[in-house]
Symmetry: C2
Subunit: 89 residues, 2 copies
């Protein structure tokens, strides 16, 4: 991108700030549902549709609370070893 | 503790190093099962014993993969907003 791009500089800055703050403070969730004091999700296991459903524990999924595989990139970039919780019917 | 304590200085240093590394690198799991390349857990939902079971997503639980409430301390100390996944029968 050129410096004269019309895209305003502040675009994305909130997300960047959230990431920087989460990281510098030791937080683990940079972006997900930051309007909520505590992100808790409920699963009614009787309503699970598939034999196997993966739930995110890395706080990087684009389909949170489901896992979308983003833990792979997170682990590679940081040296971490996190992965999902697999619910099996 | 006095500096002349017989407890060796290196006691606990591995955990400290893991925490420091996880934090500085952006990792989110300081200590849990660091011998595993990726920490994945399976839940057979048919075998859930209780009407409600909380699974940890903060990587701070002493009973991981179950939630033991440690997310409260983590959130308070870091300003984060993470919480468990609740499985309901
Ligand atoms: S995307 Fe978060 S655990 Fe898979
Ligand atoms: S102890 Fe980790 S989410 Fe509750």
């Amino acid at each position: 991108k050129s410096p004269s791009s019309k895209k305003p500089l502040r675009s994305g800055s909130a997300a960047f700030t959230a990431r920087a703050e989460a990281s510098s403070s030791g937080g683990i969730n940079p972006e997900i549902r930051k309007d909520e004091a505590k992100v808790v999700d409920n699963v009614l296991v009787a309503e699970l549709a598939k034999p196997l459903t993966a739930y995110c524990r890395c706080w990087r999924s684009g389909t949170f609370p489901l896992c979308d595989g983003s833990h792979v990139k997170h682990n590679k970039e940081t040296g971490d070893n996190v992965g999902p919780l697999l619910l099996k019917k």
